[in-house]
């Protein structure tokens, strides 16, 4: 009898302590699986561990996160959403529209998020005036990453115009190097396309074509020009680019096999991880023609509607994400700029400080635009329709005029 009693008491204690552990845990779905990214995420994990909150990691590899979104859909449909999900742009709005996200208004009011987060970002982290996500960073996507040693060897100065940029790549190619390191995945093609659109037509054209989806802009002469620049870039990419991951392309620049890479500033994490110093062993500059403007994407943690037990640790996580200490620690490692405007830039490297300065400048003169390639200019269905055309053109299935016409049709069908 006593033995049975002991057993029951023991079982009850175990049950209690298990539920206590569950209450103090967050489950986080993300696709930060490359070296620099994983290190950056560790900052948050340790921060939460300091507050006694456990961390269940749910990484789904694949840049751009489309695989992660598939996993998420299955989880939500099964009624078992993760606590927080790394998410980009319009996906947050889509999930909020489905009523799947939690309300963070109280925490946001308490910590004054309205004041410190730039409005262009708030457009994505709030839905109908309610905070549903905590922004982690601002990545700008119109960067060129360059190998300094190779530039010196070839006698190349930092190019100021598109023509200079092409001339520099020609020099590298003639010397037997890969001029432009690139991975042939649709989202990477789209990333460089963003900069071509901005470079050809500036902010008005970007707004009209990528955001407002004006058919005249989508099929117009400037769009043809943007596609022609894509074809020029294609001429400077090595033959084996198809299907290559972006961090392998970064590695080509790091190893001195390739001169330039056009990629968002998450690439900086790879350079730093390889032991290179910004402004010295590698250079960062805006894609020629896009100076003064920033196309951005912002990683956010969308907070899903969870039961009350988990809501507490969810709020703790949101609070930790928005704290200045985490924003600095994370973004220094990740390569991006903080999502708050009140952060001291002194602990950032040369490229990080340039990013924060560019961001402030672009934000004040109307040059801050969500990146189409990263789901911050239009919803996923249209984004993917554009991907199809861009990647098909880049792989030689269309000429520039056909591609511009296809843009109009593809966008129309996806609306």
């Amino acid at each position: 009898m006593t033995l049975m009693k002991k057993f029951y008491t023991g079982a009850a204690v175990v049950a209690l302590s298990t539920s206590a552990v569950v209450a103090q845990e967050v489950e986080v779905l993300h696709w930060w699986t490359s070296g620099g990214e994983a290190a950056a995420l560790n900052v948050l994990r340790e921060d939460l561990a300091g507050g006694g909150i456990g961390w269940t990691d749910m990484p789904v590899a694949g840049g751009g996160g489309s695989d992660a979104m598939t996993v998420l859909r299955a989880r939500v449909t099964a009624g078992d959403p993760p606590t927080a999900v790394q998410m980009l742009g319009f996906s947050i709005q889509d999930w909020a529209a489905e009523g799947a996200l939690a309300n963070l208004n109280d925490l946001a009011a308490e910590q004054n998020w309205d004041e410190v987060v730039p409005e262009a970002l708030q457009a994505f982290s709030t839905y109908e005036g309610d905070w549903v996500a905590a922004p982690v960073n601002v990545h700008s996507t119109n960067w060129v990453w360059a190998n300094t040693a190779l530039m010196e060897e070839l006698g190349i100065e930092q190019p100021e115009t598109w023509e200079d940029f092409v001339a520099a790549m020609q020099t590298a190619q003639d010397a037997g190097y890969t001029a432009l390191a690139h991975g042939g995945q649709a989202w990477q093609d789209a990333t460089i396309f963003d900069s071509m659109v901005m470079g050809v037509g500036g902010p008005e054209f970007y707004q009209a074509s990528m955001v407002d989806l004006d058919p005249e802009a989508l099929g117009g002469e400037q769009m043809v020009e943007a596609f022609e620049r894509m074809a020029t870039l294609r001429g400077f990419v090595d033959d084996n680019f198809s299907g290559r991951d972006w961090n392998l392309a970064s590695a080509m620049v790091i190893n001195g096999e390739a001169l330039f890479q056009i990629m968002g500033d998450w690439a900086k994490g790879e350079f730093v991880n390889a032991g290179l110093t910004a402004g010295e062993e590698f250079q960062c500059f805006r894609v020629p023609g896009t100076e003064g403007t920033v196309t951005f994407n912002s990683d956010q943690f969308a907070m899903f509607g969870v039961d009350e037990d988990d809501a507490e640790s969810q709020l703790a996580m949101a609070s930790a994400v928005m704290s200045p200490e985490f924003q600095i620690a994370f973004n220094v490692v990740k390569g991006s700029a903080p999502a708050r405007t009140d952060i001291d830039p002194s602990s950032f490297d040369a490229c990080g400080q340039a990013a924060m300065a560019d961001l402030a400048e672009a934000g004040s003169n109307g040059g801050l635009f969500g990146s189409m390639a990263h789901g911050h200019a239009n919803p996923p269905s249209i984004q993917n329709a554009m991907y199809d055309v861009i990647t098909a053109h880049f792989n030689g299935e269309f000429d520039a005029e056909t591609a511009a016409e296809e843009m109009v049709t593809a966008v129309e069908l996806a609306q």
Binding site: G184, N240, G243, S381, D388, A392, G396, T409, A414
Partner: protein, 301 residues
Amino acid sequence: MAATDPMLEGADFRTRLQNWLPKIVLAPSFAVMVLFVYGFIAFTIYLSFTGSRMLPSFDLVGWQNYERLFRVRQWDTAIVNLGIFAGLYIVISTIIGLLLAIFLDQKIRGEGILRPIFLYPMALSFIVTGTAWKWILDPAIGLEVTMQQWGFENFQFDWIKDSEMAIYTIVIAAVWQSSGFVMAMFLAGLRGIDNEILKAAQMDGASNFQMYRRIILPQLRPAFLSAFVILSHLAIKSYDLVVAMTDGGPGTSTWLPALFMYEYTFTRNQMGIGAASAVIMLMTIAAIMVPYLYAELREKN
């Protein structure tokens, strides 16, 4: 049926139970099958007429999804690719399978070793086959660079990176995978042919070639038909091989309908169009299967 069976008139409980038991036991699995196969087919057909985007919705929009589907350029690509892929895959697999079977049927030594070697690729899943062939065909690490290192400086085989040719590399991998299986079917057919007829033909002075053309191949008709049906449905549902080898690339040049269906339904928030493409694929398979089943059933009667 059972209740009116004269054998059971006045039978005791035990006998009745014995008669009903199989039906009772099978009923749940039958119900599950009806729900999860035909129920979901019906659900997909329904979805294809709704405006579903990210999650299923139930507002009917008529034929709009089908109209859009046939205007989406990737669907054209997928259909053309399916034509190329299915055509080559079925024909080449059948020819290689038949030749292997005839070769193995020559009472050669070592048949016991050769047969499993030819058959084993079928034991691999398409995703494994695809990953292996992706590496073999990758110009930077596979066949091309190896041949160049062996001294064939001008050897070039970069189809997998070429949007015009990439679909043919998928044919290569698929043929490699399935030929052995087709061989096994033909071999079984060949072994089933009556030796007496062949001996008689031999005595009449028929050559080997004539024997194959006039006697053996016509008798293999059922094997041909099975091979065709199995290979064609493998081709239409082919998804994993493409994902593993090229992920639809370069660009969108190796998209097949199954990949299209997955992309539109699950990653592009266009579930309606995805469902419409699934219905078209189902109808394509039905167009092949129904005449086949009809022919088979009629033969038995």
